[in-house]
Amino acid sequence: MAEILRSALHDAAGGRLQIEEIPGLHYVSLRGDPAAPAVAGAVTDVLKIALPLRPNTLAASETAKVFWLGPEEWLLVSLSQSAAEIVSGLRLSLGGLHSAVTDVTSGCTTIRLRGAGSRDVLAKGCTLDLHPRAFGDGQCAQTLLAKAPVLIEALPATQDCQLIVRRSYADYLWHWLHDASRWAQ
């Protein structure tokens, strides 16, 4: 139900680059004080993942990821557990601690770029240094891709990247990616 884009595999630049939407993920925003042990504790309880505290990094398990978004803000993405489960699990675990847990599942979608040209296509619209040395495994960054705010994740051991984009920008970004991959170098 969560497909925003035509999620058919898009094959650009002579097959060197594939763009596809990954539907069906669950997204939860978490705000809280990283110094409060309950915050990291809640994430571990619910997702079995250690809360990433280093800026622009993520922590992942087989079924979920936690992205650092800000010093008091994370995005939890899960493949298996529903947002409702995560939200209630976190809230339970956080108890009365001042924090905010918000289901944002319908507001986000993920687009995966596969192939050697992925980063070059992103570099056409993104000012980050995407060289594997500068942006490698375990790293993520919020930035602008063309004129859309995105969260970029470097997928391990490849040139591949994944983008999390806000729903209302997804169509624009999709067009932009098609356009940018027309002549991948």
Binding site: S29, R31, H98, G125, H131, K147, R166, S168, D171, A180
Partner: protein
């Protein structure tokens, strides 16, 4: 092969690949590897242009970016290019080029008559005349405009595609001559990420025509080896046809790469140009030096060329630029050209050297081949109009400001090579924020101290010996890499072996004295493109335009497409002389991007058409499209404006939609509203500070309208906020204001009130919101939602309930922007389409009608509800809008203090009122101004204007909202609304709420 001036041997052109092209309607053949300039010269074509002001015949002067004269129009139709430099255009099959700025043609140009009047057209002549009669300026200007300008802009849409690429590197090298290449090599060997860019079709710079050897190899062989080594190192990018055109703050540089223009049209694939946006940790500038012309009478005749350009045409392009040459120089470098010419079998009739005692290694080599050296002399005049026929040579006086006697020698020739020394290409250094310094020894401006993490090496630093270039480049590359944490170079092979060095001696010569009997400097050209002569600079100095910047602007020196790469230095030296000050004190004009002109389309990139601004869509967009909606742009969003049925006008559609909302039920996609989730123990206190009304009293399950002000007391945004829990609120903002409000709230929280425990999360995209509006809305809701009690008392106005709508967990709020009984259903956007369709189905028996923003506006205007940004304009307070009821008197909030200021407290401010048009058929124009009397003569004071105006279906007549000075106290009076064309329409001032002032409908 019919290229009469093509040398039989040598050069880097491909003789096996002839290329046909057209110039001024004539077919020519060149070779692959030629520029348009070299191909024309190979065909013996020297005269290629008419000058801008006097329409004098002009030839090719240089061989690269510095060229001021050989400006041509390329191609036709949608792919035409104005103002291309023939020296930088690579020829390809089918190339069409023509001269610009001449009519009817290059050979016979009517405007060359201007030349006859040239005495009347000194610098700035137009400031002194064309003032009478006063009304005639537009006629004069018509002709001035026609005469000005070079090429012609295309008139069709550009079929080409341009893109951008963001790049990062440790070391960016601008220029791939010997200095740049060794810099890149050293940095790359050290392990740094390197980008090296050169504007030419192939890297190599001066090596492509150099006479020297490096490491025992001819320069071009060393070049090949070096490029091969660079190509093999990962993380090195060599960009040819790539001009570093801007050096901005924080080591951000822009490069324009030209990808397809050099190919025949049928071979072009992919983008035409690409802009590289480079963030470099270290920058090495290796942009070389530009040879400087000499300033003498008629120095603009076709056949007068830079000596270095002659060498380039001879050695790189295998072109014979003339048969009988005179070289005029004040330094040794031109003797290399002498050798090149002699090697090519060209006669050198004389070498005129301004130096009394010329010396230098090239000179010694040339002397051995036997030359006619005229030392201590200068060319004072040139004979020939369309092509040089002879040089007139005279002896220079000791201080070079006068001639030694009146004797002149006429030397026949068809080519004059000039070298007045070299100007380091300090453009990028200066763009980086640096100030070039004058070096007396070189008589040139060289880079001063670096301002950013940058180094200049080689020719652009004033190091003109190849050995120095190689060494400096290698050292700089090593050092730059080291500063980025790459110092493997220490263990690497050293840079290329050093060569023999030699001194650079020159006799500065800024202006050759006029030949006897000539007006001062009248035909001594400085800026060939803009026809600026030495006399123009002297005139400017005489008239008090003393700053070099004044001279530039008064004479247009350096204003052209070449930005004075050749002429500026001579101009400012002449100015310095005229003012009796030194050149250092005179200074240069400001160097600015672009180094050479760059296509608009490339700089615009892909941000055009549908990608110009993101098009933001709601989850229901596809449904709206399928159902024929017309859309309105609201910020970046596309919102359904109205849904016309076949054959229906907008007016009819909107009436039908309004009718449904007032009499049955209608439905709207309100998903674009900004939505912010607010959590924390201080959330209520936070709202209390940012909204004008009280939020502590709001109970869980209730909603409240809020008005947000700027600190100056003016209305900034509004919306409804619901209390989801004790510490949990859900705020909505206007569509256009969403981003602004979110940023505003974060700012206050983080910078002003960090003690407040509040977290904000933007949930605009997560929730889809559907407004179900109208007397039948309750029935519709009941049809899709079984777990909420919709009883009027149990679910009162301004409260919300969580429930299940069409099997989807939803939040249903009983709020109304229409004044009707209405519900807003919020569901996660993934379910929006499903829920919308369920509502449509449930509403079908009641005639449910989707409506757009236009009907929404009509409905809210009937109720006197404002739209921030339409009925307000940043100059209205809540009181002005008649909204005192929402302004707390007992607490502080943003903006409150500003009410107490004298002019915000004034009673005669503009106030929101209603207007009723006297003509029941006339919808008053929005934006109409209000006057008291039907007749008026300007100027009269403006007292108010119509902000919103519609035909009200419910009332069967037009309604309007307006803001009007002291409006509330004038209700009942008649005013007149201007219709924009001098006419006015009478209207009565009314209360701004037109319908159901008691609010019975929405409470029903």
């Amino acid at each position: 092969m019919t290229q009469p001036a093509r040398l039989r041997h040598g050069g880097r052109i491909n003789r096996d690949r002839p290329v046909a092209f057209t110039f001024n309607g004539r077919q020519y053949l060149g070779c692959e590897g030629d520029t348009l300039a070299s191909a024309l010269l190979a065909n013996g074509v020297h005269m290629v242009a008419r000058s801008w002001k006097y329409h004098r015949p002009r030839g090719i002067v240089g061989a690269g970016a510095e060229e001021p004269n050989a400006i041509v129009q390329l191609g036709e139709g949608s792919r035409t290019v104005p103002n291309a430099r023939a020296t930088q255009v690579e020829i390809h099959e089918g190339l069409i080029a023509r001269s610009v700025n001449c009519w009817p043609g290059l050979e016979f140009d009517l405007l060359s008559l201007n030349g006859l009047f040239s005495r009347l057209l000194p610098a700035g002549f137009y400031y002194k005349t064309f003032m009478w009669p006063k009304s005639f300026w537009r006629h004069y200007e018509h002709f001035i405009r026609k005469a000005a300008g070079l090429g012609e802009a295309p008139t069709e849409r550009d079929p080409d595609y341009y893109e951008k690429f963001n790049a990062h590197c440790d070391v960016l090298v601008a220029g791939a001559g010997p200095a740049g290449l060794t810099a890149a090599l050293a940095a790359a060997r050290s392990g740094a990420r390197v980008i090296i860019a050169d504007e030419q079709s192939e890297p190599g710079g001066s090596l492509l025509h150099a006479r020297e050897s490096i490491d025992g190899l001819p320069a071009v062989s060393w070049l090949r080896r070096t490029l091969a080594e660079l190509a093999a190192i990962p993380d090195v990018r060599v960009l040819a046809r790539s001009t570093v055109f801007g050096y901005h703050d924080h080591n951000f540089l822009a490069i324009a790469e030209r990808l397809t223009d050099h190919l025949a049209e049928d071979r072009r694939r992919g983008p035409r140009e690409r802009i590289w946006r480079v963030r470099a940790k270290q920058v090495i500038l290796a942009t070389g030096a530009c040879e400087r012309p000499l300033v003498f009478t008629n120095n603009d005749r076709p056949g007068v060329m830079l000596a270095s350009a002659i060498s380039i045409y001879t050695r790189r392009y295998a072109v014979r630029t003339g048969n009988n040459a005179v070289i005029f120089t004040n330094n040794d470098s031109a003797y290399a050209t002498v050798l090149d010419l002699l090697d090519a079998g060209v006669r050198v009739a004389a070498v005129v050297d301004a130096r009394e005692q010329p010396r230098g290694p090239h000179l010694e080599a040339a002397r051995q081949r036997g030359i006619n050296l005229m030392a201590g002399s200068a060319i004072v005049d040139v004979r020939g109009r369309r092509r040089v026929q002879a040089a007139v040579v005279a002896s220079l006086g000791a201080d070079a400001n006068g001639l030694r006697g009146n004797d002149t020698t006429v030397v026949d020739c068809d080519l004059i090579g000039v070298s007045g020394g070299h100007s380091p290409v300090v453009h990028l250094y200066a763009q980086s924020g640096g100030r070039p310094l004058f070096d007396e020894g070189l008589a040139a401006f060289v880079p001063g101290p670096a301002v950013q993490t940058q180094r200049s090496v080689g020719g652009c630093r004033g190091s003109f010996a190849l050995a120095d270039c190689l060494r400096e480049g290698y050292e700089a590359g090593t050092a730059a890499a080291r500063e980025t944490g790459h110092d493997a170079a220490a263990t690497l092979p050293p840079g290329p072996g050093t060569l023999e060095r030699h001194d650079y001696t020159l006799r500065p010569l800024w202006r050759v004295p006029d030949p006897p009997g000539h007006a001062r400097g009248a035909r001594q050209f400085l800026d060939l493109q803009n026809d600026v002569s030495a006399s123009d600079v002297l005139l400017a100095a005489r008239e008090g335009y003393h700053s070099v910047e004044h001279v530039k602007r008064y004479t247009a020196l350096g204003f052209g497409t070449d930005q004075g790469k050749l002429g500026n230095i001579n101009g400012l030296a002449i100015l310095a002389q005229a003012l009796g000050q030194d050149i250092a004190a005179t200074g240069t004009t400001t160097f600015r991007p672009n180094y050479t002109p760059v296509t608009f389309g490339a700089i615009a990139g892909r941000d055009l058409g549908d990608l110009f601004e993101p098009i933001r869509l709601t989850a229901l967009h596809a449904w709206h499209v399928e159902h024929g909606a017309e859309f309105e742009n609201v910020g970046q969003w596309k919102r359904p404006w109205y849904y016309p049925k076949p054959g229906e006008s907008m007016h009819e559609a909107v009436r039908r939609e309004c009718h449904a909302a007032r009499n049955a039920v209608a439905m709207m996609d309100a998903s674009t509203l900004g939505k912010i989730d607010i959590q924390g123990p201080d959330a209520a206190e936070f709202l209390n500070r940012v909204y004008t009304n009280n939020w502590h009293t709001l109970k869980v399950g209730q909603c409240r309208y809020g008005l947000m002000l700027r600190e100056d007391g003016m209305v900034m945004d509004d919306g409804v906020t619901s209390r989801l829990g004790e510490n949990h609120f859900y705020m909505t903002t206007t569509t256009g204001g969403a981003a602004r409000v979110y940023a505003w709230l974060e700012r206050w929280l983080q910078t002003e009130w960090p003690e407040l425990k509040v977290y904000l999360t933007s949930v605009t995209d997560h929730w889809a919101t559907i407004a179900v509006v109208g007397p039948r809305s309750r029935e519709v809701m009941k049809g899709v939602c079984g777990d909420i009690d919709f009883g009027a008392a149990s679910f009162p106005f301004m409260s919300f309930r969580d429930g299940t709508v069409a099997e989807v967990a939803a939040r249903v709020a009983r709020i109304s922007f229409s004044g009707e009984l209405a519900y807003e259903v919020s569901v996660p956007a993934d379910y929006a389409r499903h829920v919308w369709k369920a509502l449509m189905a449930a509403g079908a028996p009641h005639g449910i009608t989707p409506y757009g923003t236009e009907a929404m506006h009509v409905l809210r205007a009937e109720k006197g509800y404002i739209i921030v940004g339409q009925d307000t304009d940043g100059s209205l307070t809540p009181q002005d809008l008649g909204m005192e009821w929402i302004v707390s008197k007992t607490k502080d909030f943003i903006g409150r203090r500003s009410f107490a200021r004298a002019d915000t407290a004034r009673p005669d401010r503009k106030q929101l009122v209603g207007l009723q048009s006297a003509d029941p058929a006339l919808v008053l124009p929005e934006g109409g101004q209000i006057v008291d009397r039907p007749q008026w003569t300007a100027p009269v004071q403006t007292t108010g204007h119509v902000t919103s105006s519609y035909f009200s279906d419910a009332l069967g007549r037009p309604i309007a909202l307006a803001v009007l000075q002291s409006g509330r106290s004038r209700i009942g009076q008649t005013i007149y609304v201007t219709l924009g064309d001098g006419r006015v329409a009478p209207a009565t001032i009314t209360h701004p709420v037109f319908l159901d002032r008691e609010g019975k409908r929405q409470h029903g």
